[in-house]
Amino acid sequence: MMEGWLSAEEAQAVWLSLSVATRSVLVSLGPAVLVAWLLVRGRFPGRFLLDALVHLPLVVPPVVVGWALLMLFGVRGPIGAPLEEWFGIRLVFTSDAVVLATAVMGFPLIVRAVRLGLESVDEGLEAAARTLGAGRWDVFVTITLPLMLPGILAGAVVAFAAGLGEFGAVITFASNVPGETQTLPLAIYTATQTPGGEATAARLAGISFALALGGLMLAELIARRMHRWLGRG
């Protein structure tokens, strides 16, 4: 059992968790916006399938997601092998792997929120922008994107919070390498698996909760400003 406030390893886990949650949100945002856009504005045949696919990580157990990631991104996987061969990038066992697993798990949450944000954007404004000479992409960047920011923020927050707690996919895909891939949940898990580790587990869970709380609070503040900024305040 750990005594004292935070061991060096735990401090590292806290730091890694924050960094992983943040990075996973950052890497998800772009694809999430794209997918949300396809789901809301797209009129292509596979739309429903894409929607289902996005929900996949929510539906199957996290361990299975981790296992699937390992199959795909492992050194012999259909993505991992060329990645290593051509770019010398090896994901597994790195904190990038943790980020990837976390991002995949948070993806449905972030897409759902971004989608709601996009649905609230008035298409009339986009049409107006086009008649003013802005092309599709220009309109997207200068009108749609800023107006869906609240949705993006909401998505980022929930994905960040969920990212702080991501466990199954991470331990399966990225393994538990202290200082590299051992995030807070992994540390908590380790503690719960040790006879008498309850106190440590509870303490770490408390830290995890406090971090998520901080994130939520920050988001609430930003959301208020944003609403005012968008003229909905």
Binding site: L125, T131, G231
Partner: protein, 360 residues
């Protein structure tokens, strides 16, 4: 020169309209649901009709026959929407500059300061759209459209969402715009007041079809058109300001056939203006009445007596004054009582104050 020819079917509604619009303001006028917004959207490139061709100054913007569909951003037809559609996340200045920044380098048009001055936006530049009143919003929308240096300005009932005082606040800005030698304007409305104040040409629509196209003066005299049934129906006279008489509080307007005395106006002598003389405000007399407060007593010839389709007890009298034609709405009974016949010489009586106060 804008040439439009569109065909489209919605469930329960068929559009089949063709018209042309020259320089100045062409008003599209018709009841709710007659297809005005759909036409505008098709011209702007926001809607793709089943069939049709739209050319602007000879260039085809849309031609379903050759499968040509220029995207909206390359048509340079700016739209002023009924609801303004200002970008909520940009300041007024950001909104105004949005189109300006994207206008082709060579495009000609009024500069930022000119438009800000014209529309009285100086004090609003730093504000967000939500902090604007309805009228201010529409002025900004107008400025934004104008600054995108459009080759054609489309306006979809820009004043409909505003109440009367707000409307009166904006109308003069629109009039100034029209007099500025800017791009041609296609102006959708169902307010005759706006047609009178702005339109050089009028396209009357009903249920997706063009009923008539022509000058407002001409169309407003046609009893077969639905215009004649309106409470504010009447003749539109194009006049010139002949002289002001501030002492008496009067302005004299000349029209081809006589003069009108109206409450003092602001326009300089020589200015052209259009005045709607509502049929319901015009009475007729067999002899010139004496000692009445009524200022305008115009000798004229009764050229036609048309029953009013809507009100069986009323008739429209068509009165010729010189080259001009006035309409008077009276009860059938008055025709009997005065034994009016087509061809009679009569006097048209019109109170000066019955004319609307000039906007601006």
């Amino acid at each position: 020169m804008l040439e439009v020819r569109l065909r489209h079917r919605f469930p329960g509604f068929a559009l089949d309209a063709g018209f042309t619009a020259g320089p100045g303001v062409t008003a599209l006028f018709g009841p709710s649901g007659c297809g005005k917004s759909t036409i505008l959207a098709a011209i702007a490139g926001l809607f793709r009709p089943d069939e049709g061709r739209v050319t602007l100054a000879g260039e085809a913007l849309l031609d379903t026959a050759t499968r040509r569909f220029l995207p909206p951003e390359r048509r340079r037809c700016a739209v002023v929407f009924q609801e303004g559609r200002l970008f909520p996340h940009l300041s007024v200045e950001g909104n105004l500059r949005y189109g300006l920044r994207r206008a082709p380098a060579g495009a000609d048009g009024p500069g930022f300061e000119v438009v800000v001055d014209l529309l009285g936006l100086g004090g609003l530049l730093a504000r967000r759209p939500r902090a604007l009143s309805g009228g201010e919003k529409q002025r900004v929308a107008l400025g934004r459209a104008l600054l995108s240096r459009p080759r054609l300005l489309l306006m979809d009932e820009p004043l409909a969402a505003l109440d009367a005082p707000r409307r009166a606040e904006i109308l003069p800005f629109l009039a100034r715009l029209r007099d500025m030698e800017g791009p041609p304007i296609l102006y959708v409305t169902h307010a005759l007041e706006e047609v009178d104040a702005l339109a050089d040409a009028l396209v009357l629509l009903e249920a997706g079809r063009v009923l008539a196209q022509g000058s407002p003066d001409e169309l407003s005299l046609r009893p077969d058109l639905p215009l004649a049934a309106r409470r504010d129906a009447g003749a539109v006279l194009t006049c010139t300001v002949a002289a002001h008489d501030p002492a008496r509080g009067l302005t004299r307007l000349a029209f081809p056939g006589g003069t009108l005395e109206v409450p003092l106006r602001r326009e300089a002598p020589g200015a052209r203006l259009r005045i709607r003389l509502r049929a319901r405000d015009i009475a007729v007399a067999r002899t010139r009445p004496e000692g009445v407060s009524i200022h305008n007593i115009l000798p004229c010839r009764l050229v036609a007596i048309t029953p009013s389709a809507q009100h069986p007890d009323e008739v429209l009298l068509r009165l010729r004054v010189g080259e001009a034609v006035l309409l008077s709405r009276v009860l059938r009974d008055a025709v009997a009582r005065l034994e009016l016949r087509e061809g009679d010489e009569v006097f048209a009586l019109l109170k000066a104050v019955a004319l609307d106060h000039a906007p601006g």
